[in-house]
Subunit: 265 residues, 2 copies
């Protein structure tokens, strides 16, 4: 949560939006005020404006939820729906030939955000939620995104405590550094039971002209997984999308540009 109340009006408005989370998508006015750290009277007025515009919607239960209009505006994010529209046919192909889970993610600050997911009905269950965040150091897509992140991002992640999800999660910074170097060298990442003990994921980078924009992965049941067989499939999908983004051509069309802090091979 990056909401810091007590600054400009702009930041207070944004703070009112930032208090909504997947775990608490519906809030009363007083919950909104408390979470945003703002007086109830101020919140009352601002929320009325947000409702009028459609950024929030008020339900019969008196709770406020994120409004469809904010979803509409958010759909214009190049790294959100635009990337998803580009990637979906390739993800569907990957699903058709494997019937496994297919995931698409980008990095935002020190975490990853899942942009799209095709869940195989008979594949290993995954926790992924589209629009949801996860740590960078455990999943296949996370390892790819971290391996290609700017050095300062890598150092920040390596300096912070690395959460342990299973006994196989890499929580030693030195080992993780070696793992990232290997991901860059071989061109894909394998996360073997590093998130849950039943799943293995194989991920590959999607490159834009400015650097790695996203990562695509297959998540399969650990006991029937063959990373060596899966890697070329995932890498091929990554390359198709990289080519579509102009990564191998100059000058590139670059329809899904990276924000400046992510421009690095």
């Amino acid at each position: 949560m990056r909401a810091q109340p007590g600054r400009s009006v702009t930041s207070k408005v944004l703070a009112l939006l930032a208090v909504f989370t997947p775990a608490s998508p519906a809030l009363t006015l007083s919950e909104l005020a408390r979470r945003a750290g703002l007086p109830l009277s101020t919140v009352h007025r601002r929320v009325a404006e947000l409702v009028e515009w459609g950024a929030l919607e008020r339900g019969d239960d008196g709770r406020y939820r994120i409004g469809l209009r904010l979803w509409e505006v958010g759909s214009l994010a190049p790294r959100g729906l635009a990337l998803r529209e580009l990637a979906l046919p390739v993800m569907e192909d990957l699903y058709e030939v494997t019937h496994e889970n297919v995931q698409l993610a980008v990095r935002q600050d020190l975490e990853l955000v899942f942009i799209e997911r095709i869940a195989g009905r008979y594949a290993v269950p995954v926790l992924t939620r589209v629009g949801g965040r996860f740590a960078l150091h455990a999943t296949g897509v996370g390892l790819v995104l971290l391996a290609h992140a700017p050095a300062e991002v890598q150092e920040q992640v390596l300096a912070a405590p690395l959460e342990r999800y299973t006994d196989l999660t890499i929580t030693d910074p030195r080992r993780l550094r070696g793992c990232l170097a290997e991901v860059r060298r071989v061109g894909y990442a394998v996360s073997d039971r590093q998130v849950t003990m039943d799943a293995l994921s194989v991920a590959a980078p999607i490159r834009a002209p400015e650097g790695v924009l996203a990562a695509i992965s297959l998540v399969v049941a650990h006991d029937r997984a063959d990373p060596v067989a899966l890697a070329p499939l995932v890498q091929a999908a990554g390359r198709v999308l990289s080519r579509a983004l102009g990564a191998s051509r100059r000058p590139p069309p670059a329809r899904v540009p990276l924000p400046p802090d992510q421009r690095r091979q």
Copy 2:
């Protein structure tokens, strides 16, 4: 565009977001100022805050785009991603058995918004963009949503000029009124070449306990379409989703609530 500059700071911040559209997703600072009707210095300061929070992202080209963080917050809209997550497996089933275009839409004010779409590769081309808007009086999903909208919404749509997309678009308010009554009576809507001359769509309502929440449709090539055969398929999909939303049970779980103005059978 509902941006009305010159009011409160909240509305000015929202105005800066509202100037981004599918047709102009990337804007310079001066374009932003001009479109929002705000002085450049004000815009400069506010945009800096929006970028810091992640609501906007600045590209190498100096243009601003909607940021991924706004997409993340928008993904919490119950009628956006939550509805889409619920509907996608049913839409995929509909696609599997028909290989035609499948669409999901909700009403926002006097228009519809496409929430999801599965585009058949060999099906008739459709213009739909996820997150995009369209008029209510021409498409199958639009006719369903309009037929079940509150009376005042219907009257507003019927009172305004009805855009003609093809020679078959219903632009006579009296005829449209009769069509809406028929949609309510039979439980589905057929739009036969009313948007483009090659396409026909069949749509059915998705009901929440408070009323019709969304509409689902198949869009097929006009010359191979059989609405009588398609209608039960689409209606069955609508009923599965209505049941999932608790429409036929009391008390209902109502996980995707309607905003108050839409609560009406």
